[in-house]
Structure formats: structure tokens, C-alpha cells
């Protein structure tokens, strides 16, 4: 840096306190120190152009984060001491937490590992430092979530073995394969996937539903975590935007690579969020907003503005966004009716929505709910009332890429199942959509490796051939406690007793 006699401004001072500690190596080849920087084909001509997305020295970081942690843990302690779980809207709400702890918290840990890795991979020290800060933040989220849910775990089922389940349970391979996909990619794709596509573009569709859901349903522990993590998330989002602008500004050859990643990761993220859509519309007794409303605000409006802004770099909106936009009218209903049938193999309960809830959905989904989905619930309710609560004992076919069962319908044709297939090296592969099929076609050698839970069960790799053994022994789902219908479950009974409903009143209450 140039010799100067003027006091440094904040930006330059921060650079002296971060990237200036780096140097051009002469004893080892740069290529050997940073071997992963080139293989994706991204061209970086000048790392000094990197704009630090935030300026936080470690002393301030420790100070601010410690203050936040102190407040957060004070609430956790108060929550446990006062048995705050008794003040939630309804015990059905806890199923959202079960989904969160098994589906999302392990991703926070994976993010910690992923950012620690990229925090070493880049030759630009400014970018490394920003990644490392996100790494330790993600560790924070992974751990505070364990602590936030710890009290719930003592009083409800289904939360007791999250990491074990995340590695094995069929629907949890959706989030797991998503993050494995990002972590096994190169550093630039990882940041495009997680920092940009997920944290920047889609995070409000994950964070808002869960945290506002907690607020609306009297869950003080989780909502306090949400508020506490907000400023971390803001930093992560800034990093996401900086990353994408930096890569695009460095070289025009980067544009098509980044465009393909945006297409891929938007879709991967969208498919992952289908789990959130059902949580939002069905698992929250007090509803925040519908999935379709959330999608309109957080993707169609905010995302629309973002991609307009990125137009000047030659970036267009994600290729299959029209399919995603169309799906907002159907997504949550298609997911919930599927999970309803497979409750014997999940760590959370499902149920038929109550009458007021169905009316709410008719109002929120005027073109689709009454026409396509209400009749299904009426049929399922009739069956259940007749003592034939429906469970589907045939294992579902999973999409080779997103690993969601192939349950989605075609755009504009809500009764036509969306299904694609192709042959690769003599084997046939199945997909839920054109978009997933296309992702496969770009990197078949990657996606043929997928650990598909249903295939694995049939191949005998899950400690048994029948669902019951797999569920109990391999998944650690306690049969009759964690799984099956909500009504009459131990969680339900315990909740009734907390609320002082006597067994005689139970039927009335349940009806």
C-alpha cells in the first residue's frame, strides 16, 4: 500500500486490519496454497476489488455477540423455569419445531463447516475473513437452536435425535442433499448457492415463516432466537450480494457460469422450501400469512427487484421461476396431503386441518383449494372417522435430484403429475420436474451418487426390509410416540392434560 501521511478512513483501516495481513507468497506457489480457486472456471483478475460487505473487527464482534448471547440465554432460562411450552397456541405447533430441528438446524452446522472451508479456499483475504465470520455465526445458530429447543424436547416427542435422523430419514434427505450438493461444489458455487441464492434470495421464505410462526404461536424461546440471529443474517445477506457482484464484475466469462448456478440453486432452494410451505399453511395453528402470500412478497416482488438490478451484468431471472410462481397455489397442499399419508415414517404428526383452517385456505387459495384439495381432506376425514385413518404403505418414488417424492403437478395442469425420466449409462433415473432433470443433465456424474432413502431401504441398507424396522431401528423414530396421526398421540394427550381438559371432554375437543 502507498505510503501516506493522512489518517486512514474506515474502509482503508479495516483493510489494514484484515486483508493487509495477507501477502504474496514466494516460498510456496500460490496455486499450491489455494488449489481450489480455479477448477470451476471462475476468473478472478483482481482480488483487491473485493468490497468488504461489513466491517467488523474481532474485538467488536466478541463484544456485540456476547451481549446478544447474554440476552438470549436469559430468555431461554426464563422460558424453561416458567415452563413456557405451556403457553404456546396449541401443541400441533411443536411439529413445526420438529421439522426445524431435524431439517434446518443440521444445515446450520453444515454451513459452519462449509464456510470454514471457503474461509480457507479463497486467495483474497477479505473474502476469507467474511466467510470465517459467517462460519462461526452458523455454528452459533446450530448451537443456540439446540438450546432453544432443549426444553421442548423434554416435554414433546419427535425432537430427541435430530442429527441422527437428518442422516437417515427419507424426507430429511431433501435438506441434507441440498447442503451436501453445495458443500461438495467448489468455493464459488458454494457461495452462489448458499450466500446468494439461499441467504440473499430465499432466506426470508425460511426465516420469516419459522420465526414469525413462533411469534404468532407464543413460542418465546424460538422467536427470541430469531431476533437474536437477525443481525447475523443481515451480515450474511450482504455477503451474498457482494459475492455475486464481485464475481460478475471480475470477468465476463463468469456470467454464463453464474447464470447456470443461479438457475440450479434457485430451483434446489425452491424445492427445499416446499417443506416450509406446508409448515406455514398447515402446522401453524395461528397463521402468519399463506405460503402464496409469502412467495409473492419475498420472491416475486423482492426477487423481481433484485434480478432487475442484476440485469446490467447480463443476468436474467432464474430459468424456472415461472413454474415456481405458478406452484404457489398448490405447493403446500400437495406436500401436506403427501406427508399425511406417510406419518408412520416421520418424526412429526400430521392431521386433517380443522374447519376454520380449511375456510382460511379457501380464502387464501380461492382458485385451487376448494376445487382440488378440500375434497381430498373431506374424503380423508371420512375415512378416519370410519376408523380407517389412511397410511400409504407403498414407499414413494423420489426425484433423483431434489429427493422430494415425485408428487408435484405440471404447470397449469394441477391434476397431471409432473414426471421426467432419462437413461444415463444404462440406468434409468426419475425426476419431479424439467428443472431437476436439467440439473442432472449438467452434472450426471454427481447426481448418480445420490443416497436415495427409498432405494436404500429396498437395497437392504437400512437395518431392515419392512417400514417398521427401518423407522424404529434405523431412523430412531419411537413408534407410537414420534409418528402417526396427531389426534390421540401422546403429545396430544399431554397437551389436553396441560390445558386441564379431562378425558371425558377429549372427544369434544378433538372433534
Amino acid at each position: 500500500m502507498a505510503v501516506q501521511n493522512k489518517k486512514l478512513n474506515l474502509k482503508d483501516k479495516y483493510q489494514y486490519l484484515t486483508r493487509d495481513m495477507g501477502w504474496e507468497p514466494t516460498y510456496q506457489k500460490k496455486k499450491d496454497i489455494f488449489p481450489d480457486e480455479d477448477f470451476e472456471g471462475i476468473k478472478i483478475t483482481d482480488w483487491s476489488q473485493w468490497e468488504d460487505p461489513f466491517r467488523l473487527t474481532m474485538d467488536s464482534y466478541w463484544k456485540y455477540q456476547a451481549e446478544k448471547e447474554k440476552k438470549l440465554y436469559a430468555i431461554f432460562d426464563a422460558f424453561a423455569q416458567n415452563n413456557g411450552h405451556q403457553n404456546i397456541s396449541d401443541a400441533r405447533y411443536v411439529n413445526a419445531l420438529k421439522l426445524f430441528l431435524t431439517g434446518v438446524s443440521p444445515l446450520e452446522h453444515a454451513a459452519f463447516q462449509g464456510y470454514a472451508k471457503t474461509g480457507r479456499q479463497f486467495s483474497g483475504a477479505g473474502a476469507r475473513v467474511a466467510c470465517q465470520m459467517q462460519a462461526i455465526d452458523e455454528l452459533r445458530h446450530s448451537q443456540t437452536q439446540q438450546h432453544a429447543m432443549s426444553h421442548y424436547n423434554k416435554h414433546f416427542n419427535g425432537l430427541h435425535d435430530a442429527a441422527h435422523m437428518h442422516d437417515r430419514v427419507w424426507f430429511l434427505s431433501v435438506p441434507k442433499s441440498f447442503f451436501d450438493d453445495a458443500r461438495t461444489a467448489g468455493p464459488f458455487e458454494f457461495l452462489t448457492a448458499i450466500s446468494f441464492s439461499f441467504e440473499y434470495v430465499l432466506t426470508n421464505l425460511l426465516f420469516v415463516p419459522f420465526m414469525s410462526g413462533a411469534a404468532y404461536n407464543g413460542d418465546m424461546a424460538t422467536v427470541t432466537f430469531g431476533f437474536s440471529a437477525q443481525s447475523d443474517e443481515a451480515r450474511h445477506m450482504t455477503l451474498g450480494l457482494e459475492v455475486i457482484k464481485f464475481i460478475l464484475e471480475q470477468h465476463e466469462d463468469n456470467v454464463p457460469i453464474v447464470q447456470r448456478w443461479i438457475d440450479k440453486w434457485f430451483w434446489r432452494g425452491f424445492r427445499l422450501l416446499s417443506l416450509v410451505s406446508m409448515m406455514m399453511d398447515y402446522m401453524l395453528p395461528n397463521k402468519v400469512m399463506s405460503w402464496s402470500e409469502a412467495w409473492e412478497v419475498y420472491y416475486e416482488q423482492n426477487g423481481g427487484a433484485l434480478f432487475k438490478d442484476l440485469e446490467r451484468y447480463g443476468i436474467r431471472p432464474p430459468k424456472y421461476q415461472d413454474v415456481a410462481n405458478d406452484a404457489k397455489h398448490h405447493l403446500s397442499h400437495q406436500l401436506w396431503t403427501t406427508f399425511y399419508q406417510y406419518s408412520q415414517a416421520t418424526n412429526f404428526h400430521t392431521w386433517i386441518p380443522e374447519k376454520e383452517e380449511m375456510d382460511w385456505m379457501s380464502e387464501k387459495y380461492p382458485d385451487t383449494f376448494d376445487k382440488y384439495y378440500r375434497p381430498r381432506y373431506e374424503h380423508l376425514a371420512k375415512e378416519a372417522a370410519a376408523g380407517r385413518r389412511f397410511y400409504n404403505n407403498t414407499l414413494p418414488q423420489l426425484c433423483q435430484v431434489c429427493q422430494v417424492p415425485t408428487l408435484f403437478t405440471e404447470m397449469g395442469a394441477p391434476t397431471k403429475l409432473s414426471h421426467r425420466q432419462l437413461k444415463y449409462e444404462g440406468e434409468r433415473y426419475h425426476f419431479c420436474s424439467e428443472a431437476c432433470c436439467e440439473i442432472f443433465e449438467h452434472e450426471p456424474e454427481k447426481y448418480i451418487q445420490a443416497w436415495l432413502p427409498v432405494h436404500q431401504i429396498y437395497q437392504g441398507n437400512c437395518e431392515g426390509a419392512d417400514v417398521e424396522t427401518v423407522v424404529q431401528k434405523y431412523y430412531h423414530i419411537n413408534i407410537g410416540e414420534d409418528n402417526f396421526e396427531y389426534l390421540g398421540s401422546p403429545d396430544h394427550k399431554r397437551w389436553l392434560s396441560i390445558k386441564g381438559v379431562k378425558p371425558a371432554d377429549e372427544d369434544k375437543n378433538a372433534a
Binding site: 493522512k6 493487509d20 474481532m58 474485538d59 480457507r120 424436547n153 442422516d167 458443500r183 436404500q456
Partner: protein, 333 residues
């Protein structure tokens, strides 16, 4: 007399998570336990890493060290994130007071130019060593299996960044925040013969593949010699040069190093104690790296406090390693 507040008592159906109960029994667990054990994904990874397809994600073969259970390595400080930042916030508060005090009273700007130059040449370039340590620990955090192990390394990575920043601020205090002193100091790091063996050593560590070898080299061997030499022995020497106030600004590093011995010792103890094969491998790495770390610090010792001080540091490291059945040069010295 005591006041008794009546609360409704609710019997829990379990006391902790199943994965914690499997290790420690179904009893109320500590925050450290629930934040640290068996959180990291262990099996059924979907794809091989494109950056290293030899292994899976979270693959314990990324080091040649073998542990039946990596969670046998745990942190005696019981640091999970909240405990970690809480502790560091206190340490930084003390450091801030010292920096503020020095700044207000111009304690560094009043030093003779020759002493200032010594600080810029002999102390401040260590900020680059710290950045190397930051990179190495971030790599380890990304590759180690078991959260108990990886979290200690990300904390250390961030600590090293922070220490590098404190060292940088020494120079910023000397030059009145123009950056001039930092440029001068970086010049020594790049070109001064005194620093070249150390710079070579740091660059050599940046290409070490095995993450456990790397934590041994970085956090035990290099730090074992360097922190003792610089923040203990050289500290006394700076005092003799009339720069005793600098001591206030490196107090963080002394406290930090003392504390870091707790987890590094626990880690080495668990790993060396696991098997003879581990111990032999550690010994092989020590034989290779310890003399390099010693040689890299020789010019710094010679230019300041003298080679005897470095030999003392070496003897201390050797005595420490001996407790774990490991040998390094230094007892004879």
C-alpha cells in the same frame, strides 16, 4: 426464613436429547454437551467433494490419525459459542482499556524512534504469522470431524485474526493511524532476512494436507515456541529497551496463550493416548517440524532477547510434550 414461590411442577418425559443420553445417560445435560456432541453429519453423504474426491464429506480419513471416536477430544474450557464469545468479550474489554490508556497518554508515540522501529521490525510482523494461523485453523475447522474438535479450531481461527488485529493496532498507534508503520512492518516480513525463515515456515504450513498434522504444527509446536519466546521472554526484553508499556498491549496474547494450553494439551493427550500408532505418527511429525519451528525463530531471538531464551522455550515445550509420551529436542539444550 426463605420465600417460597409456588410454581406448577411439570414432569419432563426425558431430560435431554437421545444422542446426548446415549453418551451421558438420560439426565439434565450441560449446555456444552447439547451444543457439542454428535451434531455433525456422520453418514450417508450424497456426493463426493469436487475439490477432493478421494474422500467423502466429514470423512475421518482426511487425517492419518485414527480415533475410535473423535468426540473423545473435548474442550476442558467447555466452550460452546455463547461461552466463547462471553469469555472473549471480557478479555477484549481489558485490552480496550489498555489500548485506550496507551493512546490517551501517547505512550507509544513518545518512545524513541529506535525503539519504535524495533517494535515494527520485531513484533508487528507477527500479525502475518497470525493470519497464517487463522487460515490453518479455518481449514481444520472445515475438515475436522466431531463438533467438539471443529469448534475449538474455529474459535482459534477467529482468535488469531483478533490477535493479528491487536498487533496491527500497535503499529497504527505508532504512526497515528496512517498505515505507514504497517507498510514498513510488512516490508520486514517480506524482505528482511530476519523474517524469511519464519515466512517460509508459515507458507510451508499452508500446504500441509493432513489437518491433524497441521493443528500439531500450528497450535502446539509453532505456538509453543513462538508464544513463549515473544510474549514471555521478549516481553521482558522490550521492557529493558524502555518499551515496558507495550506489555499492556500484549497482555491479551499472554492470557490467550495460557488458556489455549488447556485445550491443546487435552487434545494431544487424548490423541496420543488413543494408540501407539497415533503416538508414533505424532512423534514423526514432531521430529520433522519442531526443529523447523526452532530455526524459524532463531533470527528473531538472536536479534532481541538472545538464543538462550529460545532454548528455554524449547525446553518448556519439550517438558510439556513429555507428559504425553512424546519427545522433542530441548531437554538437552
Amino acid at each position: 426464613m426463605s420465600i417460597e414461590i409456588k410454581t406448577t411442577s411439570v414432569e419432563p418425559i426425558r431430560h435431554t436429547y437421545s444422542h446426548i443420553a446415549r453418551r451421558f445417560g438420560d439426565k439434565p445435560a450441560t449446555r456444552y454437551q447439547e451444543a457439542s456432541y454428535d451434531l455433525e453429519a456422520k453418514t450417508n453423504f450424497h456426493y463426493r467433494p469436487q475439490w477432493d474426491s478421494r474422500y467423502e464429506l466429514n470423512d475421518d480419513r482426511r487425517t492419518a490419525i485414527r480415533m475410535a471416536d473423535w468426540y473423545a477430544v473435548s474442550d476442558p474450557r467447555q466452550f460452546y459459542y455463547g461461552a466463547y464469545v462471553g469469555n472473549r468479550a471480557k478479555m477484549q474489554e481489558a485490552a480496550e482499556t489498555s489500548f485506550g490508556f496507551c493512546d490517551k497518554r501517547n505512550l507509544l508515540t513518545r518512545l524513541p524512534e529506535q525503539t519504535q522501529k524495533q517494535l515494527l521490525r520485531l513484533l508487528v510482523p507477527l500479525r502475518h504469522v497470525e493470519l497464517g494461523a487463522n487460515m490453518n485453523n479455518s481449514k481444520i475447522a472445515g475438515e475436522a470431524v466431531a463438533t467438539t474438535v471443529s469448534q475449538m479450531h474455529i474459535y482459534t481461527a477467529m482468535d488469531r485474526l483478533g490477535i493479528g488485529q491487536y498487533l496491527s493496532r500497535v503499529a497504527l498507534m505508532i504512526d497515528g493511524s496512517t498505515g505507514k508503520a504497517l507498510d514498513e512492518s510488512k516490508g520486514y516480513w517480506m524482505d528482511d532476512e530476519l523474517w524469511q525463515p519464519m515466512r517460509k515456515l508459515v507458507e510451508d504450513t499452508l500446504v500441509v494436507d493432513d489437518w491433524f498434522e497441521l493443528t500439531l504444527v500450528q497450535n502446539i509446536l509453532m505456538d509453543g515456541l513462538m508464544y513463549t519466546l515473544v510474549y514471555d521472554k521478549m516481553d521482558a526484553w522490550f521492557e529493558s529497551q524502555g518499551a515496558e508499556d507495550v506489555s499492556m498491549l500484549t497482555e491479551f496474547m499472554r492470557d490467550w496463550y495460557k488458556e489455549s494450553l488447556r485445550w491443546t494439551n487435552a487434545m494431544i493427550k487424548a490423541v496420543a493416548g488413543e494408540s501407539e500408532a497415533n503416538r508414533e505418527l505424532l512423534q514423526k511429525w514432531i521430529d520433522n517440524w519442531e526443529p523447523q519451528a526452532y530455526d524459524a525463530l532463531k533470527p528473531l531471538a538472536e536479534a532481541s532477547v538472545g538464543i538462550d531464551a529460545l532454548d528455554e522455550a524449547r525446553a518448556e515445550l519439550s517438558a510439556r510434550l513429555k507428559k504425553f509420551g512424546l519427545q522433542s529436542q530441548g531437554v538437552s539444550a
